[in-house]
Subunit: 393 residues, 2 copies
């Protein structure tokens, strides 16, 4: 990808990454006492809750190791990554080997959740850390965590079902798309290793095929968030609820795969998902992306359906730039400018740094938090890193 | 309680109840095909999801049986109550006797939840229905469901813990306050029966004492939503999060008990809870009650913290009128007018009837839904019934 005068220059993203966002998290989020990352930060970075997200120990370690691997080998970034990895090794796993969701600051267990995203984020963290250090245990842990993620996500009976399986079994987009990006990260950092009987590339193929076959609905021009076992639409609140930001994130995972393989069919698939969900998600009245939409235009049950969260905007900035680069179709350049402008006008905090995470529909700030269980050093720095690194690739 | 010229006359509430809200639910929410109540209703009453809330089978049956018992014996109201009771008998219970959270329209199980509010609402429904009909099975079921509610809510080990008990055990205000109102309803309709070794009145005493001792924090002028086992404040997001509407609802349960017993100490307790949480909850900028507030004024983690939901406003209308009647202190009359005016200016839908449930902080409509898994024939008609019936008591 090369620098394009018609889009925001990569330097803008790189400067935000290196001069604002990464220093913010190193200064305020890196726990020098107990190791790992604190993410519940007030506007000015003050810690408002010391509980730790296991997701963010992995996501943070991945981000810092990736900066070390791809921008420059700054010792501080490697130390931050090591801190997250070591916290996970000491405190991330219950006696059965399943990973926790939250622990106290010093690592005592608080919550376990049904699903296994802690495992996927630990997998990418260990893969990037193994590349940075040559640590054989990290390489083994990356494969072991991805293996556990795949088992909990796709083997019936391992994760306790949310819904009574006999009455209305459901499958989600989330486990498939996270399998894709996790496999991509393992392949980038460890090579195309075999996990649970398939290479990373084969897992990516399987998951993309399932998304295309069961979650894309051309008759509705929509990517579903959940479907029935055979891909059927479940005409209830949950079944109809679309998450445009999530589907757009999945779209760029597929666009990225298409670029790596120089596969026009995959590029077209990702671009189609982006086309549909941009139309569904963009708020014509106030700008920005809605959080949830209903497949049939009915009201959504979730209270916060019309809020503007930071992460769908980060994912849409990545997706639109990538679609423009790969297809040259003008609408993607227009959308890339549109989403960049709205995001950079509304989310950044020029006084204290980093981005607000949660805006009302009209773009007003709902909470000044810079981090929480759900927001930390991941979506924003990943976007800034990807968009800021384009000209180097 | 007598009609007071300085407050909104009871007739206003009674007219809204009998001419608008109850007809809306009978017309749109009563399932003539499979029995029971559908609550997922669009603005005009159209059913947008056929899944049924088990909570609302009980809540709806309670409401209709209570109207029959206290306003006039309309056959339609009794039929609606019977419909909910019979649906619960056929489809509400899993083989172990625990009640479901949601089922399909025809009663096949969808979700079970950890806690046992389905049981508390089934208890009050059966108690009111037993009074209306003399049905001995309903009277027995009321006691049986309250017994199960008490066991699941207060006996360690019966409900799977959300939090790892060894690290940070928590107790909630919710189970205690719902035990109070459930015991009050059983006592009203069945007499002061003994359940799990205590009379209803004794359960009320125990629960009020625990709320007063462990959840009221005079040094913070706050009623906590959760505390540690010994009533200690847990200085984390969850532990600091206050729910003013919920605490104000608990306040009027206690004011109501104080009125029945002519107990000034209980009246003072309820009034203190109202005082504190009104100050915490009222939005000085836009009016209305915030959904969540932080004990120390820090940001709240929940996305919808500043939204205006219908039910806290219903509970605050009841609480302020009751506090004014019982204490004669002028601020309660002022608050009663203030919350009435804001609520009736923002929530009712003059075109299609009933109330919107979910407003943005500024009072704008977030969703036109009239009902959902969380909104149905309960908080609004209960408020209109209580406030419309005052002059008859």
């Amino acid at each position: 990808m090369i620098d394009r005068p018609d889009l925001t220059p990569p330097d803008v993203y790189r400067a935000a990454l290196l001069d604002d966002v990464i220093p913010f998290w190193l200064r305020h989020g890196w726990d020098q006492e107990h190791g790992g990352f604190l993410t519940a930060l007030d506007r000015d970075g003050a810690v408002v809750d010391t509980d730790k997200s296991i997701w963010f120990q992995g996501r943070g370690a991945w981000m810092f190791a990736t900066l070390y691997n791809t921008i420059e080998p700054r010792p501080e970034w490697l130390e931050a990554a090591r801190s997250g990895i070591e916290f996970l090794r000491r405190h991330g796993f219950d006696p059965s080997g399943k990973m926790y969701f939250t622990v106290t600051r010093d690592g005592r267990p608080l919550r376990m959740r049904r699903y296994a995203y802690s495992e996927s984020f630990a997998a990418i963290a260990n893969a990037a850390y193994a590349r940075a250090t040559g640590d054989a245990l990290a390489a083994a842990d990356a494969a072991r965590c991805f293996s556990a993620y795949l088992r909990y996500s796709f083997e019936p009976g391992l994760a306790p079902p949310k819904t009574f399986a006999a009455t209305r079994p459901m499958r989600g987009l989330g486990p498939l798309m996270i399998a894709i990006v996790t496999a991509q990260e393992l392949r980038t950092n460890l090579g195309d290793v075999t996990v649970n009987g398939r290479s990373c590339t084969a897992w990516i193929d399987v998951c993309i095929a399932q998304i295309e076959h069961d979650f894309l609905k051309p008759e509705h021009q929509a990517v579903m968030e959940v479907v029935g076992l055979e891909g059927e639409i479940l005409d209830h609140f949950d079944g109809r609820t679309l998450n445009p930001g999530h589907a757009i994130e999945a779209a760029w995972f597929i666009l990225h795969e298409g670029r790596l393989r120089n596969d026009r069919r995959l590029v077209q698939l990702g671009a189609t998902m982006l086309d549909w969900m941009w139309e569904r998600g963009w708020d014509q009245a106030y700008g920005g992306l809605f959080y949830f939409r209903d497949l049939r235009g009915l009201p959504v049950q979730e209270y916060w359906h019309d809020m503007k969260f930071w992460w769908p905007h980060c994912e849409a900035i990545i997706a639109t730039r990538l679609a423009w680069t790969l297809t040259g179709e003008e609408r993607y350049a227009r959308w890339a400018r549109q989403i960049h402008d709205w995001s950079f006008q509304h989310f950044p905090d020029p006084e204290c740094g980093e981005w607000y995470g949660y805006l009302h529909r009209d773009g007003g700030i709902s909470t000044p938090l810079k981090g929480s269980l759900w927001k930390g050093p991941f979506h924003l720095p990943r976007m800034l890193w990807l968009c800021g690194n384009e000209s180097r690739e």
